[in-house]
């Protein structure tokens, strides 16, 4: 498919029109920070190098989602939703969507999560390339290109004052048009440099997990902001004879995360919980899929009140593994 060149006025005019058909989600200011949120006024949309504070995972995996209701013998399932257009998703966030796709259609599509797929299929994603790294970004060593991620429906790149739009799928074909131009040259695929090629037994008890996690206060902000954290809990609540089943985000940073019904908790210490978070992303997911579950967006690093740093932690583990092999 050919690419189009268009200026910001044209992008906004197109968005104005698209708002009739879609719920448009884009980076807009929310108080004093940038968030992916529903666009009500097209001039609020900010398409630049900034990374929104929260990831856009709520579009496919809401923090709280009513999945069904049981009432008088009837079961009500999730409803159809209006198509959603996510514009301005950063490459790290686009890459995260592929990880979500793999997980919610687990075991190569054998387990299909209907609630996820319902939202995912009605979502059109238009990516937006970054022009520079922000403090804490490490997508370059996580195999995500700064300026491009292929797993979306179309991609915008800032070139000088204007944008070059490259449609990637049929869904993205008619989102933006403009004067035809050459597609932006893409770098070759980055290597995933920051990976742990290790067995669990090599790192589970041998690494200084307590030192890595000592600043942790167990607030779970890292998992809430992470574009790939996807653990959830299902809860049933009864109100006047109607039982509502709700899916809510859970966090491995919470002490109660693995609390068993009998009272036993295999992860009572914060070091054990942080170890779970690091190894889930860098060891357990790669065992089942062909990628890790960290895109290098750096949100967990920037937002951590305790100063925990997953990039430094994994780098340190790598270094210790290499030293041990010598």
């Amino acid at each position: 498919m050919s690419a189009y060149k268009l200026d910001i006025a044209r992008v906004k005019a197109a968005l104005e029109k698209l708002m009739e058909k879609y719920t448009v989600i884009a980076p807009v200011m929310n108080g004093d920070r940038l968030d992916y949120a529903e666009v009500t006024e097209v001039n609020d949309v900010i398409l630049d190098n900034q990374l929104p504070y929260k990831s856009p995972k709520e579009m496919v995996f809401p923090r709280v989602e009513k999945v069904m209701r049981f009432l008088e013998g009837k079961v009500e399932e999730a409803q159809d939703i209006k198509p959603v257009l996510l514009v301005g998703a950063k490459p790290c966030d686009v890459a995260a969507m592929r990880i979500f796709d793999d997980i919610f259609t687990g075991d190569k599509g054998k387990f299909q999560d209907p609630f996820y797929l319902n939202r995912r299929n009605s979502l059109t994603i238009i990516g937006l390339g970054c022009t520079d790294y922000k403090n804490g970004c490490f997508c370059n060593i996580r195999g995500t290109d700064l300026s491009f991620a292929p797993d979306c429906d179309g991609f915008l790149n800032m070139v000088g004052d204007s944008f070059i739009y490259q449609p990637l799928t049929d869904k993205g074909k008619d989102i933006f048009t403009g004067e035809e131009t050459e597609p932006v040259k893409r770098a070759d695929k980055h290597e995933e440099e920051l990976v742990l090629n290790a067995k669990e037994s090599e790192v589970f008890t041998t690494m200084p997990w307590e030192a890595y996690a000592e600043g942790c206060i167990g607030c779970g902000t890292c998992t809430y902001l992470c574009p790939t954290c996807h653990c959830f809990n299902l809860r049933d609540a009864e109100d006047k004879g109607v039982v509502t089943r709700t899916r809510v985000w859970d966090s491995c940073m919470y002490p109660k995360f693995t609390l068993h019904a009998g009272g036993h908790n295999p992860r009572t210490k914060k070091s054990e919980r942080f170890r779970q978070r690091v190894l889930h992303k860098y060891l357990y997911i790669p065992e089942n899929y062909d990628h890790t579950a960290c895109t290098g967006c750096g949100r967990c690093i920037r937002a951590c009140p305790g100063g925990l740093n997953i990039m430094n932690t994994v780098t340190d583990i790598k270094k210790r593994l290499e030293e041990a092999k010598k």
């Binding site: 403090n135 002490p255 690093i301 937002a303 740093n309």
Partner: protein
């Protein structure tokens, strides 16, 4: 006004000395963190670790909570006036033992967060901690300067008198509307050390099922009540909130009430009996019964 470089140097020197002569096992302080944008907690355990410590305009983290994690060890802590109030509250409530702690009292005239005066700094009564073992003054010396404080916070009691129920409810609802029930405020709070928080207990009606308004109200109002006479006005809850919820006024209002009614302020005297531990047969029960009834009558 404050020479952070001299304070940092003095802190490093002090920490090195404490660690090398084995007075303490660990020094709690902060180190630079360019990704976060302000210094984050650091545990110096060896004399050579000490040089990583810093003291800056924006090191607003309250480190008092971490003391409970190194319980049983000898620990030194670089503490501002607000942190010391928290430490005092934890000592008064038997969570910490005074003998284990060496307080390095850092003189402070208010910290910055995101280029604004950090939460609660506008209500801080003094630049000097009210309990310390080693003093590091504004100029790095050992003699405190007793700096002038901003003291520009609102008087919540006054505000409450001059507003209607609807206005007060409106302010509260606007704030909890932003809340996503992540509980970061609770995690950062010195007073929230319950092994299992009421909101985390299984099979209670107020368990977090949904981030609905009722759950948010139950959480924030109960937490406020649990902290009456215990909040030390350090602002840690607002500093860590990822959603910018400003509910500290509730706690401040309760502190004002407790001070006026029971002549008690949390975090002032480690020997004082906490207000919720006291019993008096002529207590007028102002908080619960409006002051008309006397217990036992």
């Amino acid at each position: 006004m404050i020479d952070y470089e001299k304070q940092s140097l003095k802190l490093i020197e002090t920490a090195e000395k404490l660690l090398s002569d084995n007075t303490v096992d660990v020094v709690l302080g902060v180190k630079d963190n360019p990704e976060v944008g302000w210094p984050t907690p650091y545990f110096a355990r060896k004399p050579e670790d000490a040089k990583k410590l810093v003291w800056t305009e924006d090191c607003h983290v309250n480190l008092a909570n971490y003391l409970t994690e190194v319980k049983g060890k000898k620990a030194a802590i670089a503490a501002k006036a607000c942190d010391v109030r928290s430490i005092i509250n934890l000592i008064a409530e038997n969570q910490l033992s005074r003998g284990d702690i060496t307080i390095i009292g850092m003189e402070c005239a208010g910290k910055m967060q995101n280029e604004k005066l950090a939460s609660a700094c506008d209500a801080c009564p003094a630049s000097v901690p009210n309990l310390y073992d080693i003093a590091i003054a504004a100029d790095g010396s050992e003699t405190y300067k007793n700096l002038e404080m901003p003291n520009s916070s609102e008087n919540v009691t006054e505000w409450a008198i001059h507003t209607t129920v609807e206005e007060r409810l409106d302010r509260f609802m606007k704030e909890i509307d932003k809340c996503i029930l992540c509980f970061a405020c609770r995690q950062a709070c010195q007073g929230c050390y319950c092994v299992t928080c009421f909101i985390d207990r299984k099979a209670t009606p107020w368990e977090q099922v949904d981030a609905d308004t009722a759950t948010k109200m139950a959480f924030h109002l109960t937490r406020a009540m649990h902290l009456a006479g215990r909040c030390t006005d350090c602002g840690a809850c607002e500093k860590v909130c990822p959603s910018g919820v400003n509910l500290k006024y509730l706690f401040k209002g309760l502190s004002e009430f407790v001070e006026e009614t029971y002549d008690f302020k949390a975090g002032m005297d480690p020997e004082a009996t906490p207000v919720l531990d006291r019993y008096s047969s002529d207590d007028k029960q102002v908080a619960f019964l409006g002051g008309d009834s006397i217990v036992g009558i």
